[in-house]
Every structure is written in C-alpha cells, then in structure tokens.
Symmetry: C2
Subunit: 242 residues, 2 copies
Amino acid sequence: MTEIAVAVVDAETPGNIGTIARAMRNFGFSNLVLIDPPALDPDGEAYGFAGKAREDVLPNHEVITFDELVEEYHTIGFTAITNESGNKHVRYPFSTPAELPERLATTGGPIALVFGRERVGLTNDELARIDEICSIPAAADYPTLNLGQAATIALYELSGLVLPETQLPDRDADRATPEELAGFFEHAATFLEELNYPEEKRAKTMRLIRRVFGRADPTGRELKTLRGVMRRASRLAERRQP
Amino acid sequence: MTEIAVAVVDAETPGNIGTIARAMRNFGFSNLVLIDPPALDPDGEAYGFAGKAREDVLPNHEVITFDELVEEYHTIGFTAITNESGNKHVRYPFSTPAELPERLATTGGPIALVFGRERVGLTNDELARIDEICSIPAAADYPTLNLGQAATIALYELSGLVLPETQLPDRDADRATPEELAGFFEHAATFLEELNYPEEKRAKTMRLIRRVFGRADPTGRELKTLRGVMRRASRLAERRQP
C-alpha cells in the first residue's frame, strides 16, 4: 500500500493541526509531518480537537524542513486558487480530490499531501517546488476552505487507498432478493383480492406498488414485516365480513 | 433546483456551527436551520469560524423545533454508527454521502441534512422520526467524525446539486490535442536524429517518450515550451559539430 503522509506548512493555529490529526485517524492515515509548526501544548487546542488522534497521530508527528519535504516525498500541493489556463505553470494543471485516488494508485511513494497557512495557503515559491497541484471545487465567489476542512475532504477522498475496512456493514447481504420481491408482489396482489379491491383498478395499483418498492431497494426483513401487516389485515377483514 | 437545508440539532459549541456555516458558503448552500442552538455571540467562535458566511449564512439562520423539522422537510439524518443488519430499522438501511447526489436529484424538496450533538449525535428517538439515514465510511475502530468535519464532507459531496459553477477553470480547453501530441512526437524523433542518438536505440526511446507523455496529459503550452527547448538544443548541437 502506498504510504501517504499529510504535511502542514507553517500553520498559525494549533487547533487546525488537531482537526487534521483527527481526520487522519478517522480515515486511516498516520504520518503527520509539520513544517515550522506552532507550539503544540498538550493541554491546548491541537490536542483538544484531535479526538482519538491525541493518542497516536498527533504525538507521533514529525517536524521537518520544506527542503526535506520536497526531497523525500512525491508532493501534492493543495490550493483553492489555480491558474486560469496552461499559460502559467505554478498552479496549473491541477487534479481534484475525486481524481486523486486513481492517480495515486500508481504513484511511487512516499507521497505527501501538502497544506499551507490558514490565510494565504502555500506561496508560489513553495508551489513551484511541489510535484503536482490539487484543488477542491467550490463556490466561484468563495472557494477558500478552512485549512482543517480542506484536509478533511482530501483525506475522505483518499481513505479508500489506505483503509482496510470501514465501520459500515455490507448492505448487499440484507437487500431483498428478486425472489423475495416477487413473493411480496404476489402477496400484495392476493391481498387486494381479499380486500375486494375494485377489480378494474387492481392491475394499475399493482404497477404502482411495483414502482414504489422497485425504487426503495428494500431489505428482505422490510418485505417480511410488511407481508405480516398484510396477513393481519386479511385475517381481520375475513372475520368482519358478513 | 432542489432546496437543501442544513439542520443542526442541539449543538453544544458555537464553533461547530460556524464551521458548518463556512462549509455551506464554500459549497453553495444558504439555508441553516438550528434546533436548540447555543447562544451565538457576534464576537464568539461561531462568527469567528464562519469566514465569509458570517455575512449571510450564519446571521440568516432560522431556529425551529424538531417537530417542525420533521414536518417541513424530507430529513436525512447523519450518524457514524449504523445498525449491523436489516433486523433493526432505526439506523438501517443507510446511504453514503457519495450515493446521495443521485438519490436526492429525484427527491421532492425541501430536503434537510440533519446533524446531531458533538458527543452523542442524534438519539434513536430522533432518528426514528427521520426519513432516511446517511453514514460516512471511516475507520472501523474510530468512525466518529467531528460534527463540523462530517457536515463539510456531506456538503462537499452534494455541492454538485446546488453550485452553478466552481472557481476551477475548464481544463479540457488547455489539454494538448492529438495533433499537438503527434507534432511533439515527430519533433522528438527528429531531435534524436539531430543528436546522432544511436540508431538502434531510437525506436525504443521514442516508445518510452510516448509512454511518459501519454500518461502525463500535457497541455498544448507544455508541449510547445518543450519543443522550444529541443529547438534550442538542436541549434547549439549543430553549431558545435565540426
């Protein structure tokens, strides 16, 4: 698996470093690299914002120079403001975070995602020394994301490259099979008969039911419970008929 | 365009509301709805973290009750912890944020993305009254994102539904055309000849050059500049030959 580090250049506020460390822990990254960081007080905002990362990602951070960064890593610099066209090369061409997983799957590591200062990001001099540019598509009149939020989005998009598994269960196993759906529709048709639902409307109502459940991707359990509801209604209807 | 609001239930810290407001502004959302919010001091963290959203999204927020929320909106509740299978219905089935844009494109509005408290999220009682569940895939051993970071990811994924345009220029217009690439490869072949590059190696080296530039998706400008470099080298080489 490609090693992907997160590098933060000259951050002003410890809080953002904590936010980034937390997102790293949430999305399966561990290597936090800081260039000219502010002091990280164990009782301050960096540790306060880091969640579980206060136990590993944050205290294990490494401090290096910008020279070491560009020498040791394939660097990807994040900036909200790209150049407008191919006539300039500092901030163009660029990838978007959604495109990165495919790109980085074949990039020789180690890789560093590089984020700049809160207010001004990475300078042109820094970007000129960085291997490639990435930019998060955002509102044309306010594309500048907060540092911690930009890093969170990048890590979210790249988590598939490093996370062996997520917290989410496999949904396919629970989804109703075509047989269960067919059984449900058959049951619904019988149900309409039992209710003495007007014969001329039955086919149309069955099409409607098929459309609703066709879109809802129900689980087997959902269909089973709804069939139980129909069964109970049938029994009561039977009893009450003269 | 479907109206998509962001609802935050019982947030404890004003800072997270500011962070969410900023992400809304970055990704093209404007309707912030708060249920039981903390006090939002104009000189406090909510406004401090909101960036440009301090001018519009944040001051324009609406305070409503949870009853009003579920009555007036198609609600999508976010939770890191889903049920494990279809046997329970409070937190299952669920979508992921990446799946939402396609789902919501056909959902009748208004829609509200609903986020819960910092520590405990939305309660089971609240989730039971919400229309559908969404969960962000994250590390199995630490899937709980910070509130502001979770909302940022959801808004990032949904921005395509509401943003008329982003800050990013159209890259297709700058990419080299097949003709420009063909011209470049022809020039490179001539260049090797001019350098008296060993004849038996030329075809192989040309294949290598084709592979490098085939993967790099160069712009027309990049190829033009590199052809200029080759031209200059050719001229110098010519002059120095006896």
